[in-house]
Amino acid sequence: MSFLIVEPYLVELVRRMDTEGFPLIVAGGLGLHLKRRWVRQQVLDHGRETLMAIVPEARPTKDIDVFLRMDVFVQGEGEHVERFRRALEGLSYEVKTEFFQFSKRDTDVSIDLHTRMPNQQELVVVKCNKQRVGRKKQPSLKLHAYGTPEAFAIDDKPQTLPLIGEDPEGQRFEGHVRVPHPFAALCMKIQAAKDFEDLSPAEREDEENAKGQKHAFDLYLLLAMLDLQEVDEIRELVRSHAENPLFAGIRTGRREIFGVPDSPGCRTIRKEAQRLGERIELERFTVLLGELFA
């Protein structure tokens, strides 16, 4: 089984937040890595059938991207926000970017906090300023999260995967970690890939922006790992979000950048696959993604 350098820090974070009653959803590269590892085990132990015969490897990462439930901001008078911040402080996390990015002292580990966009009811107590979501009346210890419109389905059927490992002090942990349902993850990746493809060629060359080309390949990986049950669940979630204008935008984005094997997003996947030495089936990928998101 493969482990990441960041994994002990994930173990201590999940353990602490579970104890505090803050169920986190681990997204981004780390969530993808955890899912890929679990799928490999499922294939070995239970003969899991994946949508693609060949499933690429997930890239390593050192960032922890987590989604907070909106309850943290909405419920109570701010005591949840304070408790969350104290829990982070207890794990030696300091504010890196006010107040949604935290870095762990004496390490290069950082946590990015995300959340879906608040609905009308939630906007009574929550404000949203330039995608920064937080309580209107913040307690002394403030907390924000990066509002992510394309994460509209983040609370739908998150998947629970086993998490077994040691924290940075070597203390063993056997528990679970939650990752987004593939539907939510696919929506987020389509948007992230589209944001990258919308950049001008010069902007894409920029070192920071160039990292964005990983999203298209992540999308391929997410699709490749699906099993029949997940495919059926995706169909169900597609139906339930059919009227959602945010989902309509995702569908349009899918058509624009992953419609055919020669579309911009597919070209990015091909480039990444060549760089990583992975075998891919782009024709099948476009057909399957098109079918699921039609």
């Binding site: 059938e49 949508l51 699906l226 099993d227 029949l228 495919v231 099948r284 057909v287 399957l288 079918e291 699921l292």
Partner: protein
Amino acid sequence: MADLKNPIEQELYRALAGEGSADFFRPVRFEIATSEALRGDGGFDGVLTARWRDRVQRFGFQCKRTWSQLSMQRFKKSMEGALKGGLLPLLVTSYLSDGQLDELEAAEVSGIDLNGNGLLLASDLYVRRTGAKDRRKVDMPVSTVYRSWKVASLVPRLFVAEVRFPTVQSVLDACHGRMIRVNGGEPLLHLSTVSKALTLLEKDLVVGRSGRETRLLDPERLLARLVGAYRPPVATARFVGRTRLPAAQVWETLRQLRGVRAVTTGRGTAPRHTDLAGADLLQLYVSDAAQVVTAVAATATEAFPNLELIETGEEGVYFDARDDAGVVWASPLQTLLEISAGGAREVEAAKALRARMLMQMQGATRHVKE
């Protein structure tokens, strides 16, 4: 989609599906529009798109084994409604002589034959192609009788299962007995075809004739010829998708469908005759895919499909099929033909199956001699 009962139509599909399709009516390229909506309801059998450089013309075609001035005029009249939609009438037949092309031109009806002759007429297009000989009149090479897409190939196929027949009629009867017929329809195989096929098999020393009796002489050559002349059937429609019905219920539903032939493909049947593993997918040849899709409430999907339908009118795939507890399996020969053309593992399995079939056939041949 309707069953392609007309052999001319089957030949046309085959000519336009293979690698040589670009040469079929060079420099014009033909494509058959496979949309179900385009078939059968306007006095024509289907729609053929002709392309030459940037010019595109769509024709509503009708396949005819024989035709006359009267049938041509009727066809032209039946196409009047379709003309408004930009479709022009096109007759497809086995052979068009120069004189017949003149007649078509005078009647302003386009026509092509299966030899490459023809006439295409449109407001901005005139193509006339002549000079190709009628293949039916050219001395038929012996190998044609083994071609899997020809109905005559049922005769050599029959000798894989039975090795001696007292008369030509008994060969025909045995063939009919092993064909899947629906709605009591007239089988496509006739005595004259059987007689010609037997003559070719005799010339090839595969069978021997003594008086009225015909016997299998060379099982090895027979199998080799059939395997060598095998081509996958031309599909007039394909469906890949999922049904919620379990396989047994799919077969139960198929049994109740009137007018539809269905058989497991040779590859799908392979686990019964070889050590090849079965697929999760139910892979069937059917004569009407649309009807089957509706009946089993299947939805098209590329994601974890459990049903694949290959719609074909070719008789060979249905010939000598075996019904076992409601499931219709392809004949061992059809399995052999398909896996012989497969990947390395399949070819390996085909060798073992072929050896076993040969042993049985040789045993039966010896028994008849004694």
